[in-house]
Amino acid sequence: MQDDLWLLLLTGTEETLYMVALSTLLAILLGLPLGVTLVVTAPGHVLPVPTVHKFLGALINATRSFPFIILIVILLPLSRLLVGTTLGATAAVIPLAIGSAPFLARIIENCLKEVELGKVEAAIAMGAQPMEIVAKVLIPEATASLIRGLTLAIITITSFTATAGAIGAGGLGSLAIRYGYLRYRDDVMLATILTLIILVQGMQWLGNRVALAVEHRRYRFK
């Protein structure tokens, strides 16, 4: 154990949280419209456009079938274009967001599909427009499961940041590689892993709490 450990860990955690927060935000901005469009354009839904539905589905599948590390490499030029560099946390946010948006879109799709169609029909029968049905019925009725799905996505993004760390993104992943692995610093390796475990546990705990708080169920199995 050496005295630079705490500083390294602090900077690493900070960078990881920064990457996770920013890429989650961007992933929501991309994934939410994608997920919603996927749902409402499905045959028989409120805005059926089967070609759009099929195209988006194929696009999402294609993006999701890339191994994440390959996606990062492919998207490096885009990072350079948007951020000016391919190194560091900010540069990693671009592939992180693009890589996780399709995953998030699928999660959102699943959550919105879970909303009972009877509720959608009730809204249609009251003369609601498709976008009103999305904003006032589908999303509010799915809030708890959306939060659970988002928690899942955030944790996946956290593990993505560790992968991105391996090729120069910074954060806890890069710490583990650069110090723990390349410089044989077992203390850094161990501390990094422990920190990641605590982070992920914390995220899951928080996600569960928030989901439970917004839900109005009759029986609350804790």
Partner: protein
Amino acid sequence: MLTVRNLRKTFVTPQGSLEAIKDVSFQVEKGEIFGVIGFSGAGKSTLIRCLNRLEEPDSGQIFINGRDITLLAGQSLREARKKIGMIFQHFNLFDSRTVWKNISFPMEVARLPTREIAKRVEKLLEVVGLVDKADAYPAQLSGGQKQRVGIARALAMEPELLLIDEATSALDPLTTRSILKLLQDINRQSGVTVVLITHEMDVVRQICHRVAVMEEGRLVEMGDVQEVFNEPKSKTTQLFLQQMIFNSKENDKNSSSAGIERAFGARSGPCEGAVLIGEVNRYAG
């Protein structure tokens, strides 16, 4: 007020096509409570869902106050729907919204001014007797209370026509009675025209003015409730009547002190009820 002419609807599924509505025509006068009764699978839900185009009819016309609903699309269809209230068997309330917010939903959609919405919600809460539940969520309500919210929500836009799909089928007999009473009071006070579908004779007897009997996608009998039940012509009506007589006999049995004994005794041989139920089952599929 409502005129349905030569309505047809066929469902095409990978398993084959199914003619759910076969050339149905009827008329409902303003302020009337019109019942459609039939066994499960007769096509009742499909029929009532065609009336606000939740289901797309294949052919035929549906006139509401002289306007053909089947010709509408887009915004004009949405506007027409705002004047047609619908009540569902499984309530279809919004679980993320309070009772108050459930009732205000159709008015939000219609962009009524906030004050007008508040005024109407308060009044509707009184009408359905849920003033103290305004801030409760559907999960905190009983089935009867949920349906009262469903009724208030359906009345919010002061509809000309109220469509009721088995509103009481998920409720116990006592709650059913109170919900029917509420619907009857609303009909008397507001003069709203009601189309109600049910598989329960009691519902028809309690609140309908006229009734149509539906059998395999057709209306096989229609008329005043008394008339139809006094001189049943179709097989369906006869079965419904027999079932009702059987039910009331069962009630008598259960209320008498020898009820249990007799109920056990009935096991020894095929009783009248079992035969009837068998017949009903065969018939209803």
